[in-house]
């Protein structure tokens, strides 16, 4: 936007800062008001019209403001990034391993699109070879436990029509390499994991892992929780292997729902 103004204004701009800031503020406030999944009562007569308008405009409508699957496992608010035009067939040994690890119903299709990234509620998750920074995530595996890892591959089933002619929902999966957790002797020296507020006995935001990945996980896209920041450890403590520090950047389910939040979401209470 600023580039366009620069191009057309010949470096001599009027009271445009105020005007543009006001216009954009109004537009963004309006969008933010409509983007939450509960409308205020005063707008309820127009709910159908607003929902249909926003679903065309923002491809996700009113549920878009909540990016985590913890609240809506049926969400469809993702957009894939891929350089491929046509799906490719996965080779048999790879397919068998993937299908076994996923164990989903209906089973994984063999024709998939390999993606470079997936955008969930405007937040981009990308594979390691495309972006080191966007590939480090916190994710949930089938038994419900949370792990930190690096996205290696993203693949999407090609959308297909069923017998009634309706297009089935596209399923997206990710393969991740899981960071190796510290052994007990090293975990005792972890200043982050043992911190009374940041550590594993409280909010569990920061902790250390070995800077290596030993096991692989295959998860669905709605099992991604959030990005993490990582930093290679360079302190005085001596660990048995090189270590990294992880900081969870979750803005939805922080603090963890199962332990710390008993109440229902409180978006627009009656006034």
């Amino acid at each position: 936007m600023a580039g366009s103004i620069l191009a057309c204004a010949d470096h001599a701009v009027a009271e445009l800062e105020v005007t543009a800031a006001r216009d954009f503020a109004v537009a963004s406030y309006l969008k933010a008001l409509f983007a939450y999944n509960a409308l205020p009562e005063s707008l309820s007569p127009f709910e159908v019209a607003i929902t249909s308008f926003l679903s065309k405009k923002y491809q996700g409508g009113l549920a878009r403001s909540v990016p985590s699957s913890h609240f809506d496992p049926t969400r469809k608010d993702w957009v894939i990034e891929t350089a491929q035009k046509h799906p490719q067939i996965i080779k048999t040994p790879d397919y068998s391993a993937l299908a076994e690890e996923l164990g989903c119903e209906p089973p994984l299709k063999r024709a998939v699109l390999w993606c470079t990234g997936v955008s969930i509620s405007h937040i981009r998750y990308q594979v390691l070879h495309v972006s080191k920074h966007n590939s480090r995530v916190l994710y949930r595996i089938r038994n419900g436990s949370l792990h930190c890892g690096i996205i290696q591959e993203i693949f999407a089933e090609s959308p297909q029509k069923d017998s009634t002619g309706t297009t089935q929902a596209q399923r997206i999966f990710l393969t991740l390499k899981r960071f190796t957790p510290l052994q007990e002797s090293d975990a005792a020296k972890d200043p982050y994991g043992n911190h009374p507020l940041l550590g594993r006995n409280a909010y569990d935001i920061c902790r250390m892992y070995y800077d290596s990945c030993t096991s692989r996980d295959v998860v669905a896209v709605h099992d991604i929780v959030s990005h993490i920041s990582t930093c290679r450890y360079d302190g005085d403590e001596v660990f048995s292997q090189a270590t990294i520090i992880t900081v969870v950047l979750d803005r939805v389910s922080f603090p963890p729902l199962d332990t710390l939040i008993p109440s229902q979401p409180h978006l627009f209470p009656s006034r």
């Binding site: 936007m1 445009l16 403001s65 609240f71 981009r124 972006s131 990582t230 930093c231």
Partner: protein
């Protein structure tokens, strides 16, 4: 916390731990909680830290006089990511005053994370109040030479606003501030008013 660019207390006054634990008052001009030695470690850690693309990266020259001011998003990434990484490693396993400084900062960090949630619950707001109150009370005790600023007081009134209006993304001023920054960076050569309508026309066209 004092300005990071000021002279480090340890280099000027000897052992900081002994001084602050022994309640010896230092000349304020030479006193800094996070001095140059810590800031060098912070800057070193920043070069090794990964930030996702939606988060503004902490500036690599943070704390140096030549860098200047931090924007609000840069303050946020500094407090939420960079400082905890460095300070927990340096002060986390220590006792004494430094551990109290760290704990005070962590209370503020947790309060900011809770206030920045994209989904607000009563319980999260209760936790916010608890941590923010702990931060302000600790601030008064740990930094007796500083006064409580109006902004710090306003933070105590945030939960009723969030209960009324929902998550802070609704009324967050950061997006318009980012546009302001972009517009302010346009070199206007102090000639205002020349191409106003032309620019407004293009702006309207873009927004359509």
């Amino acid at each position: 916390m004092s300005d990071a660019a000021t002279t480090d207390a340890e280099s000027e006054t000897g052992d900081l731990e002994a001084d602050i634990d022994g309640e010896i008052l230092l000349p304020l001009a030479t006193f800094a909680i996070i001095g140059n030695d810590i800031m060098e470690v912070v800057r070193d850690d920043i070069t090794r830290t990964t930030f996702p693309s939606w988060m503004k990266r902490t500036p690599k020259r943070i704390g140096s006089i030549s860098f200047g001011k931090l924007s609000s998003e840069e303050w946020k990434s500094t407090l939420l990511v960079s400082l905890p990484i460095t300070l927990t490693r340096r002060w986390g396993l220590e006792g004494g005053k430094r551990a109290q400084y760290l704990e005070n900062m962590v209370h503020l960090l947790l309060a900011i994370r809770l206030a920045n949630r994209r989904l607000i619950t009563d319980h999260a707001l209760d936790l916010y109040e608890r941590h923010y109150r702990a931060f302000v009370e600790g601030f008064v005790v740990l930094y007796p030479w500083e006064r409580v600023r109006p902004y710090q007081h306003v933070g105590l009134h945030l939960p009723p606003e969030l209960r009324l209006w929902g998550p802070g993304d609704n009324c967050n001023a950061n997006p318009p501030e980012l546009y302001n920054e972009m517009l302010q960076n346009i070199k206007s050569n102090n000639r205002f008013g020349k191409f106003y309508w032309r620019a407004r026309f293009w702006l309207a066209l873009i927004m359509l």
